[in-house]
Subunit: 326 residues, 6 copies
Amino acid sequence: MTWKCAVVNIPFGGAKGGIICDPKNMSRGELERMTRRYTSELIEFIGPEKDVPAPDVNTNEQTMAWMMDTYSMHMRQTVTAVVTGKPLNMGGSRGRREATGRGVMIICDESIKKNNMTRENSRVIIQGFGNVGSNAAVLMHQAGYKVVGIGEWDGGLYNSQGIDIAALWEYRQKEGTIHGFKGAERAGTEELLITDCEILIPAATENVINSGNAHKVKAKILVEGANGPTTAAADDILGDKHVFVMPDILANAGGVTASYFEWVQDRQGYFWKESVVNSQLEDIMVSSFEDVVRYAEAHHVNNRIAAYMLAIDRVAYTIKQRGIYA
Amino acid sequence: MTWKCAVVNIPFGGAKGGIICDPKNMSRGELERMTRRYTSELIEFIGPEKDVPAPDVNTNEQTMAWMMDTYSMHMRQTVTAVVTGKPLNMGGSRGRREATGRGVMIICDESIKKNNMTRENSRVIIQGFGNVGSNAAVLMHQAGYKVVGIGEWDGGLYNSQGIDIAALWEYRQKEGTIHGFKGAERAGTEELLITDCEILIPAATENVINSGNAHKVKAKILVEGANGPTTAAADDILGDKHVFVMPDILANAGGVTASYFEWVQDRQGYFWKESVVNSQLEDIMVSSFEDVVRYAEAHHVNNRIAAYMLAIDRVAYTIKQRGIYA
Amino acid sequence: MTWKCAVVNIPFGGAKGGIICDPKNMSRGELERMTRRYTSELIEFIGPEKDVPAPDVNTNEQTMAWMMDTYSMHMRQTVTAVVTGKPLNMGGSRGRREATGRGVMIICDESIKKNNMTRENSRVIIQGFGNVGSNAAVLMHQAGYKVVGIGEWDGGLYNSQGIDIAALWEYRQKEGTIHGFKGAERAGTEELLITDCEILIPAATENVINSGNAHKVKAKILVEGANGPTTAAADDILGDKHVFVMPDILANAGGVTASYFEWVQDRQGYFWKESVVNSQLEDIMVSSFEDVVRYAEAHHVNNRIAAYMLAIDRVAYTIKQRGIYA
Amino acid sequence: MTWKCAVVNIPFGGAKGGIICDPKNMSRGELERMTRRYTSELIEFIGPEKDVPAPDVNTNEQTMAWMMDTYSMHMRQTVTAVVTGKPLNMGGSRGRREATGRGVMIICDESIKKNNMTRENSRVIIQGFGNVGSNAAVLMHQAGYKVVGIGEWDGGLYNSQGIDIAALWEYRQKEGTIHGFKGAERAGTEELLITDCEILIPAATENVINSGNAHKVKAKILVEGANGPTTAAADDILGDKHVFVMPDILANAGGVTASYFEWVQDRQGYFWKESVVNSQLEDIMVSSFEDVVRYAEAHHVNNRIAAYMLAIDRVAYTIKQRGIYA
Amino acid sequence: MTWKCAVVNIPFGGAKGGIICDPKNMSRGELERMTRRYTSELIEFIGPEKDVPAPDVNTNEQTMAWMMDTYSMHMRQTVTAVVTGKPLNMGGSRGRREATGRGVMIICDESIKKNNMTRENSRVIIQGFGNVGSNAAVLMHQAGYKVVGIGEWDGGLYNSQGIDIAALWEYRQKEGTIHGFKGAERAGTEELLITDCEILIPAATENVINSGNAHKVKAKILVEGANGPTTAAADDILGDKHVFVMPDILANAGGVTASYFEWVQDRQGYFWKESVVNSQLEDIMVSSFEDVVRYAEAHHVNNRIAAYMLAIDRVAYTIKQRGIYA
Amino acid sequence: MTWKCAVVNIPFGGAKGGIICDPKNMSRGELERMTRRYTSELIEFIGPEKDVPAPDVNTNEQTMAWMMDTYSMHMRQTVTAVVTGKPLNMGGSRGRREATGRGVMIICDESIKKNNMTRENSRVIIQGFGNVGSNAAVLMHQAGYKVVGIGEWDGGLYNSQGIDIAALWEYRQKEGTIHGFKGAERAGTEELLITDCEILIPAATENVINSGNAHKVKAKILVEGANGPTTAAADDILGDKHVFVMPDILANAGGVTASYFEWVQDRQGYFWKESVVNSQLEDIMVSSFEDVVRYAEAHHVNNRIAAYMLAIDRVAYTIKQRGIYA
């Protein structure tokens, strides 16, 4: 997280914390009491200017609402900026849910521009139809990309003329699955990764592009919607094939950027319209893309290395300038 | 106030406090000392993140300046955001004085759009020429409405071709009264409420539209500039007549919204141009109008009920999500 | 500083503090320890809402970084807003370095508009090519002014057709001096002050326009980029000659205004694009220019007197309204 | 409470607060949650230097432990001094439980000295065998007083040779009642109040000495262990009979004095041996007795009036000296 | 003050502050408002753990009460320990008024013991009958010393058989002067300083023992009740004559020691009986006497030099051990 | 530490912290900077009411002075109570250095009383002549015990008539070792543990009394001056032999008790004479001894088990009474 934040140049750092438990076996009351006690034990460590937790697996808007309330009761005033990922009605940000998917699309936009391609001529295959994949698919479909493939863990869909993603979204809402959708034929998940397309977006799990399939990847551009979808070995193979890879710490940084926007709005006590959120997100994603690509070219490294170099440089330089007090 | 703030979706609540005294019989020194002691007794209860007092009857910008200074001396730093309604030179907001009147006009704009009417063809009668009424009149006149009637407690003016409000304003500044103004004929205050017009704006006192005159109201649209100008009985009669009523908690919420803007600017330490204040106000009033009307249509209730339902829903839902910290 | 801030209407005050020492004879470690101890002794007196130091002679971005870190360690959280003039990567503002020079140009723009002149027909002579002078020169050259003279302490340059300032800047970067630059002929520093031109910008040291040369000044407009370049006696002479003088507390207020923007951004935790900084700066400089000129005309005084009257009025009025808390 | 504290000259004031509920119908969990929420709502109002709650009817050591823990969790450190009446193991004071009874005895000691009587020749009748009465009885029996009567609401005991109170205590521990005790004969509660004795100690309920029985009281000394046992009318009658009355605000002030000692010990983090508590209590009770009696003699009023005069004088004088901070 | 506190080993330092004004020409209201504003400006600098002001010339218990109240209002709770010299009823200490005089007596006691003298055989002459001198005189008379002379600025009293100081005190209370007292004959102030006696206590003004009279001083022991009564030149002469000089920073340190006791009691919230104050004072004065005398003997210097050496040693050693936090 | 504090009933808990480094290879400057940074990182976790560090191996009074100063600089006021083990001149306690040894002696005193023995007839063997052992030896020798053996890691001393410990102490001061002392003959360290005596005090290292020598121990009373000198196996053997064992958590608790006294004095700002420290220590050690022995007899367990039962009971009971704040 520290490096991801540094790549997009937002004043956040990185750490994770949690409780070992099985929330599925706990009542709502137990979850609430556990969340509150956990929060109260963390009081000295969190705060709008210290550490700002956000939800992850097994936590949600309700969890963040409890944390916010607990912290606020201790502070004796409502402090919305202490956590992000809150419900809209208590200091959450518009546009947060789609932010990662939107960021993925923006990176695709910049990548095709860089490679002299157009939206209309870019066939896109997206692996994963969860929060990141589905939002990216909907937005890219709207924007004119031709989304030809969608992969889920239990099989995917393919339509060489492009899938009607809006229709697929509705279908999934109703049926709970993408399977059975009329507007495309079934396709194997693994097969989709190596199907012919301009843009491949792995947005599901880790290590799906590996030494076993990397040499068969046909996409010109690979945008990592998930964390760590490409193994180190695959990275080298893709490099040799001149695939334009957009690494996760840049490509899926839209989520943490939206968290940052939520924090800014809470600190201001002033909330942005969704269009403002989206345009701020675009500003940040675009200029971060440019920073990374410029760095890669200047240092003759691939985009992933460039992103890490950039991030580490920024953090190290700041630490050095601040110095050590006593 | 709680419901009014909830309707326009600003993060404020509601409460009132005061001192039993007769400020007319007190010297400036006494008023200052009393205000300061009152403020110092409230120190634990007020604050930019706790409770933010604003002026009401018998208090003014000077009162708020004293409160701000007293609080700041206790905090050992200038805290402008602790109160609103301050003078411009110490953290007040541009556009605050006209904000309620401007909000009334915006609600009129939306109401005519909703009812397929135009400014030019809308004759307006405004009861009251105090802060709310006069500002609404000036702004609506500028905007192209035909303001045909102005009522004061001791009689009003009427001109079927429209009154030149700019001229009336100047006249009143000079003469201290609207009476004697050449550009209109005298009219009874009560009579004006039932005179033919498209828009009626009661902006003076409570209960002026009541069971005694409601059935005679000829306006198509009634916008409550004052608090509680319509009695419950009158409300039913107006409903039967399909008068489009914009309830006070929406129609005159422009004032508290400007207070909110003042608070935001103070927290940011950054002050908006008047045009920015006005456009933000428009955004909020318009979308609140839409929320209320949508709610009314969805639940088949009148606008007033819809506004309360909306407000209570928002507050209740938030309380439920925050929960009770044992 | 108090009056300068009041003229541009930003919520800052004025004070100076320092340590008697010779930083040239101190190691980096000594400078750091001294800066930190100085900061820790000031803890109770500084703070984002109390007093916000900025760098001056012999201090720089690194100094401010140490101060910020020391204060933050004491506050137990990062408090970027406690000082301004920080490096960009730890809460500094884009556009800060050029802000004074840009402000000078804006004042020139307004001055020629006021005097019905155009950029293209305005020959400019700038004394000083330090931070203020060089930035003003570059920006004005870009904007279409004809910069005909540049003076340094050890002689200047003159070209009646206008000097290519972009080329001069590059030359100076390379050579460390402006002397020897091909695109202009040498000229005496003193001589430049009395050379024919429309706009004269003394941007170096104090008292350069004095009773000895004021009557020979040929410029129509004099914009004080430096602090105190004109003596009181010279002021009278320039007044008699109807030179349009823009006093330092207005003309070079761009720097403190940028400091204010840095503080606002730090408080928001949200950082502006350079274009935003520049346009905000223009807003403030233009409206301050208008305030001063309007005041001068209304009270029949020169611009300098008007600027002071305006500033003192604002501060005095605010103090009176706040009152004294026993 | 304010006057009681002023009489014994301890730096406490007076106020009461509570929750309307029936603790008998609440589970331990409900009581705990209610106590904690109540405490957290009071956070701003209580504190070792602000307001220090102590238990009263329907609250006990456990209640105070919960309050202390809740406050401490909010303060992020253990703050024992925020309440008194805590269990010994978490900052309670030794000797607190017997303090009121012991105070009653000390007042008896001083009263007999003042009236040239001796312990051995003083027959004592105590109405009430609750916390105050039973502790007074045990201590006075030990000290050599001849306790001849004990009254409970459902009848009492009498033995003209003195009751063996140690034996009675044990009997009551075992049997849960004083009735059936062999070492005394039964006596009516009302009758005991007018039975011959030197010292009468009403230590049960209000208004037991009233115009109906005051003239029949045979005691020379009346020490009010309960609050308000004597009506105003009775007071006059006793005055006429020259009964030496020790008013409640002095006589039963031992309890609040022990609370004060608990607070002092918590602030010091240092806990006194029981003998120290007892001797400090004696110092305070004795000197307060002397103050009251001296005041009564100097102003020719009875002891009750003297106690109130003394208390009001002390509070009023202090308020006047502190003054009002505007 | 720093050295005086170090000699008696109490954890206080030294500084003075004040307002330039003439309190004799100010009303009580003006004095109160001035004192309160002065205190509120000092809020950050004073406090029970920071700097604890005490009264001096032109300030009194009332002044300290106002300071305490002002500070407490800012702290939102009563903070008695912020100043000393308060009235008894709001946190002052018993025995404070006589403390300097009592300290002088204790130093006399130790000095005679050291010099194998007895109280009965020690004739004492005291110059000054103000707070220090009169209290010392009363206490020493009670203790068995033979006080043979008392000097005031306008003449003194002498009785070779000893003056009845208790009677003199009463006389002065009644008459407002010591002159005219029957129990002694008049004596010149200057003359008294050189009259035969064992102990001379200058307790009035500076420089009264100087090169002009030092060689005529007949006392064996000189105890400085005032600050600086002996000039440097006189000090040498007394040294040559082997007069046992007790320097001011030890001899009159009883006052600041009592201030320290007041602070301790306020911090404890627990107040000492006068006998406790007196015995604690004796402990400190005696052990400080012993420290100084031991130091003088060990380093072969006179008592004054020894006192300063001891004080500076203590402060320097502590500073060195604490070190400088960069 | 938690259990040790609970046994002696002082309001402290237990935890350890440290830095991995080799202080022997660090300069004084490095030690100071490391200590200060370590302290500043701990700021949120330590404090007079939170956690109060004390020195242990490789840290000393100077370390604690640096910690105190660093914490105080962050708190902006001197906070002596934040650590214990400080130098006397900055808030340390008299009697702290000898406290553990004195506590050992007090436990010996109580043990012989309990076993009907006398000091004069009690031969004592002490293993270890470090801080604990040497102080215990000196004090017990003074008190009349016959100290017949002293063991060091490289051999010991024995004199059946008793060693002159005062002389031995001086010898060691001069020579740096106990070897070569004339007043006793050499003895093996191991041998001393099983030499005939009434009281054996292992005050050096862990596990010295083990299954290999426990059955040969001849002492009637074993007082653990060191932590953990007796193995579990040896404990059983000693139990079978009816040796009266005083466990470490009681026997050497004098040190932490003195730390507690230092903390109390710092909180009071009032410092005790050494005699007061010693008598308070005796009170606590004696009553803790009685608690443990009473517990052992009541539950038919040995003293060590009794001490742990008592400690755990106290902690558990308090936690249960405080409860968990959601």
